[in-house]
Amino acid sequence: MHLAEFKDHQRELYFFQLRIGIAGIFVLAAFSLLLVRLVYLQVLQYDYYRTKAEDNRISIVPIMPNRGLILDRSGTVLARNYSAYTLEIFPGKVADLEKTIDELAAIIEIRASDRTRFKRLRIEAKGADSLPIRTRLSDEEVAKFAVNRYRFPGVDIQARLFRQYPLNELASHLVGYIGRINERDVQHIEDADLTANYKGTDHIGKTGLEQSYESELHGITGYEQVEVDSGGRGVRTLSRTSPTSGNNLVMTLDIRLQQVAEKAFGENRGALVAIEPATGGILAFVSKPGFDPNLFVDGIDPASWELLNTSPDRPMVNRALAGTYPPGSTFKPYLALGALELGKRTPQQTIHDPGFFQFGNHRFRDDKVGGHGTVDMYKSIVVSCDTYYYVLGNDLGIDNIARIIGQFGFGAKTGIDVEGEATGVLPSQEWKRKRFRKPEQQKWYAGETISIAIGQGYNAYTPLQMAQAMAAIANNGVIYRPHLVNYIENIRSGERALVEPKVARDLKLKPEHIEFIKRALAGVNTEGTGARAFAKAEYTSAGKTGTAQVVALKQNEKYDEKRVAERHRDHALFIAFAPLESPKIALAVVVENAGFGARAAAPVARQVLDYYLLGKRIDKPAAEVPGDDDDD
């Protein structure tokens, strides 16, 4: 080997080894950097990352309790739960919602209405973890998604309990419905310090008993400690605290009676409240038209909502509870009773009725042209003589009327166990002062008292108040607070918490007075304005017809049913209780824009009483009875 060449090789090797050495130092430096990083993460930041990993691992999953059932007094279910699969999106875990929904739609049918509902839920239910894009999946759809699940992080199938109202429209206002928890509900829940118990719950009672008895129905939420993966899906359950189911509500309502009553209305709008006088238990609580509460459970679609909300029939209003109507002539027996109690009248006192009452230069007409002739108190109720009450009202004055009528609970909330009750209007001088702002409007005119005395004018009461007052007469002046729930049942222990009948007020009426009024009311149904509707009744009953003006009539104008637009027609009313001697049921009926009470409302009452007292099944609405004695 040549020396120079060897030297060159040596030199070359030296330079190479130098570079290898430099590379080696670089490698050591790089590894030191890695080591520093690892020490930082695993020693210095260990606690932080350990906590992070723990949080990653265990998530507390609330377990929703089963919502309590709602049943009628004989155990018929009005609200129940059933299990179904929903396809739910966790919006927080999905980057592009629209894209995800589009991709889901390729596997599972997602309609435009599902999308709009989902959007609405997004806005309304802000706190919710997951929102359903589709509900009630078929087994096939569940399987289809399961196969593709890996493609959709943040989307999962959930087995959910759904609320169902098997009787649909029947008693819909009373039972109410549940709906998605919205921001206002969240506020309520926070105010009541129930946030923890509503974790995992996404529905809450919105109206009716579902709302009023929410705390009983909801139950206590359970918890599960679950190991989850990064997609939020449970892997393993570590511990479990079972939820406690909500309590069942057993109502005083008789659903078959309710059905008979609702059928009796036919296509008419209106309300009916039937009460057991001795307890205050509600037997029937009708508001027509109704709605299907099932529509609201998953979030109602906008089209149906629009329809329900803009309908002139106002199906969403619970007329029995929140509708207020002038009582018309059903007012008269209470005023008469009050006059007896105050000593302003005796049953025997008579007036002469020429068919009108002259007050200054205003003439208040009686329905019967030419008048009823000589009229005592009994006859004034039986034939519903207006003139008698024009005179009586004028003698009593507005404040006395208000005092008498107020005793029976008119114009005040009854305290029934469901929210949304209207107060109504019990007119008085004081009421008018408070109601109006301009001084000339605040003044009470004596002329106004005259029409108040026959149940018109400012008078406005709920059918519930009317039924309660009727029950007060039937119960000899002892008023029980009306209630809808008979008992609350704990399904675990079987324990039943009975709702004790509660006396709201004892009017301490003189027995001879109450007996007299009862006799007069019985006369209505045997020989008076209710006689046709109660012909051949197999039980004794008391009743009173009423017709409430919707538009005020001009002086000397005769009310012509045919000429008045349908919505401006009078409301037909009827109040009744039966049997006369030991009343089992008291009721009030309002049929909107149906004309005379004797013709439109009394037959409804008859069907309800027939069913309740005789067990008669009435399958078709009774034909309208044309009558010539509709002069209440």
Binding site: F31, V43, V228
Partner: protein, 364 residues
Amino acid sequence: MIRTLWLRFIDKIDAPLFALAFALLLLGIITLASAAHETPSRVAGQAASILVALGVMWAVAQFQPQTLMRFALPTYALGLALLVAVALFGDVVNGARRWLNVGLTRIQPSEIMKIAMPLMLAWYFHKHEATLRLRDYFVASLLLAAPVLLIARQPDLGTALLVTAAGFYVIFLAGLAWKILIGLALAACASLPFLWSLMHDYQRRRILTLLDPTSDPLGAGYHIIQSVIAVGSGGLAGKGWLKGTQAHLEFIPERSTDFIFAVFSEEFGLIGNCLLLLLYLLLIGRGLTIAANAPTFFARLLAGSVTLTFFTYVFVNVGMVSGILPVVGVPLPLVSFGGTALVTLFLGIGILMSIHRHRKLVQT
């Protein structure tokens, strides 16, 4: 007789190199058993790949470096041709055009380049050893740039990076002047904005995410956040084998391949990491020693480049998983699941063994 055969059989096998590689393989299999607990078939699959890879290593170790030199140009040319073919007719998998369908199976030509590149450049410099001029470094750069651009276009940033590293190490070890190296480094810094504009959105996002992973915890930052949590929560001694919650609850993505270090770290802690890094360091040290003592320019350059590329795998992978480097597709050598990478890596180890065992034959 059998003993003699056995000695003949293992004659070309470098014991320290083999022991270190074997130890790493063992750690890899143990970690994989935990990472892929839901798909146990992966462990068996990896074991099979190891056998194939060891076979490849043994075979390569039998060659004389001169023989290897003869492969340089053909493998490089084939690799380049295949990369062009991929660019034209390749199959798209996960949005990247990396695979070439060759009837029976699909191959990833970029993988060939990891070996072909140092072979080619080492051969080129060896050929011009006596008359090395600046022009030769320039030609070498072009030889490097062409396949790298094709690979980066696929896009496969991880492989492009490794091939670039392999090529660069050869050029560096061949003695490129320091002032040019510094100039190149400055030029590289200057061209960063240009590179940025060439990058795909997801690549940019990965780099941005590295700076602030929490900016997108459910998106691109997710990989980093979860793997860093896994590493950090491992602590000093780790959570124990099969007890890594991050791994077993599927918080770590790609946990049996590119992110297997997170699983290892979580279960074996800092102590395990030190052992792992030490094994790598020893292996690299052995490789560099082999390079330093290699008889020919070709052998030195090749051994040095292969060893330093191996280091690059480790550094980029661990750096990525521990959150100091952006996420690129580089496996943890000898540990990550994946047959192709394993074969490539053992090919490199085989080359090192070949160089080491044949050093005296050339010298004399």
